[in-house]
């Protein structure tokens, strides 16, 4: 007799999918339930795409300056002109210098006699995307030779703040990734040795970690950063800074790795693998690492914002990256004293982007950690 299965309901299908889903699929489902984490992930993808294509996205060359518009305030996007007509395409007014009758200083004010429509894919400063592809189309901008487009205002040399923030993102966002990668290498090697072999090696490594964690990080970083020779090229300074940042960052990851190794070493499936005469490397790479990889990714995500903040702080103090390089910390250097902040509050805007990125990483890391925890259901 042929048995026919009753048509499956939607719920059954879902249940079946749940049973056959891979570990990563389960994690992804759990992750998507954490709305804030998903939003944060979108924000971060957006930020990294912007950083990747910064030559194209930024409306100006970050080093193009115009002394006429020193500390020009942010331009407002207008949709309605002076006659009250509505334009679907936003426009901005031009700028002019004027003497402030009260303080007698020169200030930059909007000049309502000139209007410039803001265009998508506008022609502007020439650039070379990744140093390879020449172009002069920008995502948005105004097509004018005698007027720059300052959506976020201008800095003390008359350069466009928005473009500099976008270019700065490339350095600030990548320095965290490189630093974390270095930390990860140190962390896995040292934490792995510590957790898998135990004994004397464990004792020494744990003491070193405790020692490093008990030192105040910023003074130590300052000392290390001061030791970088000033004659180094900017790219070497950049890598020097990442190494300094990962110098302390690895301790946290090493602890996570060690804890996981210690816990896993006692698991039945590891014993089974050992009894089946699997070589040690195979046990570590095939059986142990996959079972804590998800956890590791969550820890990694949570340690990136620390790196970004540290770079910002070091550069802000003048001991990290130096001015020809553009990073968010370097940009904030010009907002170092009260006078310039009161005069030009938009110089603080790079800080806003630091906060957004750091918060997004924190939320996404939280979501990943919850998703990676098999007991969180």
């Amino acid at each position: 007799m042929v048995q026919t299965n009753p048509p499956k309901s939607r719920k059954d299908l879902q249940g079946e999918r749940l049973f056959t889903a891979s570990q990563w699929q389960l994690m992804w489902w759990r992750f998507t339930r954490h709305k804030l984490a998903v939003i944060s992930m979108v924000v971060l993808i957006f930020a990294y795409l912007t950083a990747l294509f910064c030559e194209f996205v930024a409306p100006h060359d970050p080093n193009r300056y115009d002394p006429r518009w020193v500390l020009a305030p942010p331009m407002k996007l207008h949709f309605v002109d002076k006659e009250g007509r509505f334009h679907l395409q936003p426009f901005v007014y031009g700028l002019k210098s004027k003497r402030d009758l009260e303080t007698l200083a020169m200030v930059v004010v909007p000049d309502e006699s000139r209007t410039y429509p803001v265009k998508l894919f506008a022609r502007g400063d020439p650039y070379e995307l990744w140093g390879q592809f020449a172009g002069d189309r920008h995502l948005f901008g105004i097509e004018a030779d005698d007027q720059m487009f300052f959506l976020f205002g201008a800095d003390e040399l008359g350069r466009d703040s928005l473009s500099r923030i976008i270019y700065g993102g490339r350095i600030s966002l990548s320095i965290g990734l490189v630093g974390v990668l270095l930390s990860l290498v140190f962390g896995i090697i040292l934490g792995g040795i510590s957790g898998y072999y135990g004994g004397i090696a464990d004792l020494i490594i744990q003491r070193v970690i405790e020692f490093l964690r008990s030192l105040p990080a910023i003074p130590l970083w300052l000392m290390l950063a001061a030791a970088l020779p000033p004659t180094w090229s900017s790219i070497r300074i950049y890598f020097g800074i990442t190494i300094i940042l990962s110098f302390i960052g690895w301790t946290g990851l090493a602890r996570v790795v060690r804890g996981r190794f210690l816990a896993l070493r006692e698991e039945d499936f590891i014993l089974a693998a050992r009894l089946a005469n699997a070589p040690r490397m195979r046990i570590i790479l095939r059986h142990m690492v996959p079972s804590f990889a998800s956890h590791l990714i969550a820890s990694l995500t949570l340690s990136i914002p620390g790196m970004i903040m540290s770079e910002t702080a070091l550069s802000f103090l003048g001991l990290g990256l130096q001015p020809p390089i553009v990073s968010w910390g370097v940009l904030l250097q010009s907002a170092q004293n009260l006078r310039s902040v009161v005069l030009a509050p938009w110089l603080l805007l790079p800080g806003l982007f630091v906060v957004i990125v750091v918060l997004a990483f924190n939320f996404m890391g939280d979501g990943l950690r919850d998703a990676a925890d098999p007991y969180a259901m």
């Binding site: 008990s214 003074p219 000392m223 003048g318 750091v358």
Partner: protein, 328 residues
């Protein structure tokens, strides 16, 4: 217990030894030495610098000797005579320069620590006992925000708001009128008026972290069977919470000390530069910029030693408070 304390104190000595070696290595790391900078200074002021003078100076400062002898001299002078060497930028003994500023750093760190505790303790308990209430969400948001904002940025924004809204300059520790005045009640009040900004800025990240741990710990405790039992027996809610779960959940306050302290000292370094406070931060930064390595190195040595000392105290406190911690 006594054995544990002794053990920890014995461990403290090698730690400080390692700190001093690391610091000394860092002092030596920048290219050039004390004398090259000194020579450059002399040349800049138009004086003739002979190779002979430099060799003589190197000999006098012992810079021509091998590394370990230099180290032994440096640390020997510190331990035996309290002599941290000479600051070339100020041309004064380092010890004189450091003491006054170090006290401010210690005072600021301890003040912030107390602030953190006072704020985090009630909020943590409230958030746990009123989980998912509106206030809980607000505190959680503030907590995330506090951990996500770089502290120097917060200081800048507070300064800016203070200036544009209230017209007061919040930098420094005293108003101009009281700067050189002798100590009095009015001066103390003036100090408090200025001190809250760095304390809040420094404390907010630590407070946020502590609220979250306190909340999580207390929530774990509240779900345990003994709480249900006590409640079933008709114990008053207030007495129940304060007498048992809160006490257990209190641990992070003490163990946190060990990790909060390095953070505070670190944070104080940057904040002080922004708010121009007379702590160790700005002076250390300036010393680093002008390669005045003995001064900078002494700051690092003292700050690290103090932090390790704080960790030691918190470990001993923790062992004393929590009987579940295995000694040895």
């Amino acid at each position: 217990m006594l054995r544990y304390i002794l053990q920890r104190i014995l461990l403290f000595i090698p730690t400080v030894f390692v700190i001093s070696v690391v610091t000394f290595v860092l002092i030596q790391l920048p290219p050039g030495d004390y004398i090259t900078v000194y020579a450059a200074q002399l040349e800049a002021s138009g004086q003739e610098v002979s190779e002979q003078l430099l060799t003589a100076l190197r000999g006098r400062y012992g810079l021509d000797q091998p590394f370990y002898i230099q180290y032994a001299k440096w640390i020997g002078n510190i331990v035996l005579y309290g002599d941290f060497g000479q600051s070339m930028q100020w041309n004064r003994p380092v010890a004189d320069l450091i003491w006054e500023r170090l006290w401010w750093t210690i005072a600021l760190s301890i003040g912030t620590l107390i602030f953190t505790w006072i704020v985090a303790f009630p909020i943590g308990i409230y958030s746990a006992t009123h989980q998912y209430s509106v206030a809980d969400y607000i505190f959680t948001f503030i907590g995330f925000f506090g951990q996500g904002v770089p502290d120097f940025l917060l200081a800048l924004v507070l300064m800016w708001l203070g200036y544009t809204w209230f017209g007061v300059e919040v930098g420094g520790l005293f108003s101009a009128a009281y700067k050189d005045a002798p100590w009095s009640l009015a001066k103390f009040a003036d100090l408090l008026r200025h001190l809250w900004v760095p304390v809040v800025v420094l404390g907010i990240a630590g407070t946020a972290g502590l609220i979250r741990t306190m909340r999580a710990n207390l929530l774990d405790e509240l779900r345990k069977p003994y709480v249900v039992t006590a409640r079933a027996k008709g114990m008053k809610e207030r007495a129940l919470i304060w007498k048992y779960p809160v006490r257990v959940a209190l641990n992070p306050f003490i163990s946190g000390l060990a990790y909060v302290l390095p953070g505070l000292v670190s944070g104080a370094t940057i904040i002080s530069v922004v708010l121009s406070l007379p702590t160790t931060g700005p002076m250390m930064l300036r010393a680093l910029m002008s390669q005045d390595m003995y001064l900078a190195g002494s700051f690092l040595l003292l700050l690290s030693t103090l932090t390790v000392l704080g960790t030691l105290v918190s470990d001993i406190l923790l062992a004393w408070v929590d009987p579940r911690i295995r000694l040895g």
